[in-house]
């Protein structure tokens, strides 16, 4: 009698715990489909610094990598390197709106050219030309020409007078095209 009972008990031994993966699979498939639908490979390394409010645009053109100037409320940055600080006076230090005033020593050509920006853009240009010279890509045996594209990322409140100085300086440094960056407008 006791032997039969022990056999029955043995038969009731539970199998190992099995995780129900089906619902998890469902969730993962939905995530994969969502990500594939919104998949957008970026051809550039543009990132927006925190606090910078870019305007929105209906343009469909995604920018390629190029030299980039970022205008933040307190400084100008070229290729992630701070090239100049705007004047911070007692008046604008506590103000909500940034003023983007240049130091007189940073300006030349009657206030149109920003000297530290010019130096940084020339440096970026020389670097780019050096890379093109070393590259194997050739046109008629000559290295590819410097594209001369400058991308500008600025807060939506930045005034045209600041943008114009950057554009003028870019022109004197041999840049030919200005690429204004903005956030894509949701349609």
């Amino acid at each position: 009698m006791s032997s039969i009972r022990s056999r029955r008990g043995r038969r009731k031994v539970h199998k190992g715990f099995e995780l129900q993966l089906t619902s998890m699979m469902d969730a993962l498939v939905i995530i994969v489909v969502f990500l594939l639908k919104n998949y957008n490979v970026s051809e550039n390394s543009f990132t927006s610094p925190p606090g910078l409010q870019l305007p929105t645009s209906g343009s469909q053109d995604t920018p390629n990598d190029s030299v980039q100037v970022i205008v933040t409320s307190d400084a100008l940055t070229v290729e992630k390197e701070r090239v100049l600080d705007f004047i911070q006076t007692a008046v604008n230090a506590g103000a909500k709106e940034a003023t983007y005033n240049f130091k007189p020593t940073d300006l030349a050509d009657g206030g149109r050219k920003v000297v530290p920006l010019y130096d940084a853009l020339m440096k970026a240009r020389e670097k780019s030309e050096l890379l093109l010279a070393k590259s194997k890509a050739r046109v008629d045996g000559k290295p590819l020409e410097f594209e001369g594209i400058l991308a500008i990322q600025a807060d939506k409140k930045v005034q045209y007078t600041t943008i114009r100085r950057i554009m003028y300086t870019a022109g004197t440094a041999g840049y030919r095209v200005i690429r204004f960056l903005a956030m894509k407008r949701e349609t």
Partner: protein, 180 residues
């Protein structure tokens, strides 16, 4: 002698279970890859060539008296005009909030495009205090054809068919870079 147990009971098998673990591994890897490579920051660009100081080619073009559509931003309005009087100057007043009336400017430019469907250049002369936001909105209204706009057709030289114009005046140039 005991009765032989039913073979039907003995041959009962558990339902076949699919091994989901490798699929799960692949899914997790795929999600990781997609999250890592996708760009959630959707940055777009508007290109504007810097004006060229009058070369011989430009001088030749100027002899033909082009439209040279110009938008001059002023304190209370935006004037749409042509230096060669190809169009009648039109002033678009700012809206009630004192902002540039982008919609009215766009509508006015659509009318110009109907008259000059082959034209692709526009010149903008902003105020010193015009914000970057207004500049981008203005350039958008000059360059883009909105889906709600009435289509403007242009004959394709190759196919001979009328095709809707996709861009309004895509080549936007700023005119007053040399000013102080």
């Amino acid at each position: 002698m005991l009765k032989r147990p039913s073979c039907r009971r003995n041959t009962h098998q558990d339902p076949l279970e699919l091994n989901l673990v490798p699929i799960l591994d692949a899914m997790v890897t795929l999600i990781g890859f997609l999250l890592f490579t996708t760009s959630f920051l959707a940055i777009v660009a508007i290109e504007s060539p810097l004006p060229v100081s009058s070369s011989s080619e430009v001088q030749e073009q100027l002899k033909e008296k082009p439209l040279q559509l110009t938008l001059s931003v002023r304190e209370k309005d935006v004037e749409i005009w042509s230096p060669f009087q190809k169009i009648a100057p039109k002033s678009v007043a700012n809206n009630k909030e004192g902002q540039i009336d982008i919609k009215a400017i766009h509508d006015a430019l659509l009318e110009v495009k109907k008259k000059f469907p082959l034209e692709s250049n526009a010149v903008i002369i902003p105020l010193k205090g015009t914000s970057y936001d207004d500049l981008i909105s203005l350039m958008d209204s000059v360059r883009q054809v909105e889906p709600t706009d009435l289509p403007i057709f242009l004959k394709n030289e190759k196919t001979g068919l009328d095709e809707p114009v996709k861009k309004l005046f895509p080549k936007v140039v700023f005119a007053d870079l040399g000013e102080t």
